[in-house]
Amino acid sequence: MRKTSLDMVFELARRDPRVVFIGSDLGVGTLDGMKKELPERFFMEGVAEQNVIGMAAGMAMEGFIPYVNTIATFLTRRCYEQVAIDLCLHKLPVRLIGSGGGMVYAPLGPTHLAVEDIAIMRALPNMTVVAVSDAAEMTRLMGQSLDWPGPLYIRLGKGGDRVISRPDDDFCIGRAILRRPPGAVLVVATGIATTQALEAADTLAAEGIACGVLHMHTVKPLDVAALRAQMDGVRLLVTVEEHTIVGGLGAAVLEALADGDLAPPRIRRLGIPDAFVKDYGSQEHLLAGFGLDAAGIARTIRAGLSQ
């Protein structure tokens, strides 16, 4: 997913002279092709996220479209005020590509986990927040990112994530994709959690439980119309996100349901509890620990239905 997104930056830069890339001390060899072919529009800056965001703002004020990439937690938390004031208040077309969204950097511990990025980005006016499910969907998103008005936060998964999106999805920023029509259950998920939700739905289908999956790749602006369109007959709604349960997708969905008088009889929110992640290991290990893998999602749904 990361490679695809950066390859697409190069591709977009070839196509459009307004595109510039700004990295913050990324790994050796990042976008070498662009550096060689378009050296003037390739910037590899120091470990200075505040400056990188301000600099991107200044370039956007001059008519450029900067794509900024670094580790998600540093791109959101470290320079939050710059993102809020320099990008959002000015409504500038800067694209923030956050590597390692969620618990991708599991072995590196809580300093490197981006588990509240969606919440804090979502709180900012003018910001758009997108978490696609796989590399193929990333290509579609990046193509649309060029002329998207205002700042855009793109949350990256690990890479090598299973491709579940389809060319005929009609991917559109801000428009949810119905992966599976709901029965008594509807799961709303974002990012790679959608992949886990689909797997859980398969398992449950074999048990006779009809479970829909709505892929909410864009968490802000939330596609409330898509949510409303699927609520008929839903007895249990489950939100799934690789993110704290505070302020993320689940919270956004609850807000929309409350505001629209759409709440179904039961709602469960799956995410990371309001605590710092204590364990290491792999992303899969942590996901399973929080019940965010397919088995965990299926468990929550069974329990939700039987209560």
Partner: protein, 279 residues
């Protein structure tokens, strides 16, 4: 040159234009019932010289592509900028007295897109220099000769982000960029020398790759001289402007209590106008 050998800024008298701009600041302060008087008064000559003598700009066409860019990073000094912009015709002078009022576009910190002539919304400190770095890089990509000026406060440069930006400006050898420090020696709580000393300030900027000038920030000739051209050797420029906080209102000069004031009684406003005529 070290600070000790700098001329005492207040030793130079103000000309009628500098007094007129300060009267505009007082009018806005009076109209809004509040404002950063000290922080604005120290800036007047810096902003005046930029707009009168240094920058290419078109008041009737604020977004003219060929303009030089001015970013007031110390956004709380906006009364100085508002006075100069109004004087230049960017917006009607009558708007000044509506400063900070409901429905006005002149807020307590300047906002781009609201105030004609304001390039960037500032107020949260330590943002302007990075924006200036980005603007200078963007202008370089566009093969533009336009220059970028960023004015910062002395307290403001306590922010680490300023020094991140300074590193980047040095790395990219942004000769079109000029950083100005309004060194009035007083920050919000008290004297810079006590709250967070900055010396040796010129050495700091030099170490980050800047060509450094140190001048009396109320001296028009000195400002014109150092701002006229970019550095001949291609470095970004830092101009440390030794100024007097509250300059022009003797009872407010060098007094931390006048950093920001609200609810100033009418007789004191009258005293300010009167005092201005004596300097």
């Amino acid at each position: 040159m070290n600070t000790a050998s700098m001329p005492t800024p207040a030793s130079t008298s103000l000309d009628e234009r500098s007094r007129r701009l300060r009267r505009m600041v007082i009018a806005a302060l009076d109209g809004g019932g509040r404002g950063h008087l000290g922080s604005s008064m120290s800036l007047i000559e810096i902003v005046r010289v930029l707009y009168d003598d240094v920058m290419s700009h078109r008041p009737a066409e604020p977004r003219w592509e060929g303009r030089d860019r001015f970013i007031l990073s110390k956004g709380h000094g906006c009364l100085a900028l508002y006075a100069v912009l109004a004087d230049k015709g960017y917006f009607p002078e009558a708007e000044l007295v509506r400063f900070c009022r409901a429905g006005s576009y002149l807020g307590g910190h300047p906002e781009a897109g609201k105030v004609p002539g304001v390039e960037a919304s500032t107020g949260a400190l330590g943002h302007g220099l990075s924006i200036g770095v980005g603007a200078a890089l963007g202008l370089r990509l566009k093969r533009s000769a336009a220059r970028v000026f960023v004015a910062m406060g002395d307290g403001e440069i306590n922010e680490g982000s300023v020094w991140e930006a300074a590193m980047a400006a040095g790395k990219h050898r942004l000769s079109s960029l000029t950083a100005l420090v309004d060194y009035n020696k007083i920050q919000s709580y008290g004297f810079v020398a006590e709250v967070q000393p900055l010396e040796p300030l010129a050495d700091k900027w030099r170490a980050f790759g800047f060509a450094v000038e140190e001048i009396d920030g109320h001296n028009l000739a000195a400002l014109r001289r150092v701002l006229a051209t970019p550095d001949a050797e291609g470095r970004p420029k830092a101009v440390i402007c030794h100024t007097v906080k509250g300059r022009g209102v003797p009872f407010a000069e060098n007094d931390p209590d006048w950093h920001h004031k609200s609810r100033i009684p009418a007789p004191q406003i009258a005293e300010m106008y009167a005092a201005l005529e004596t300097v």
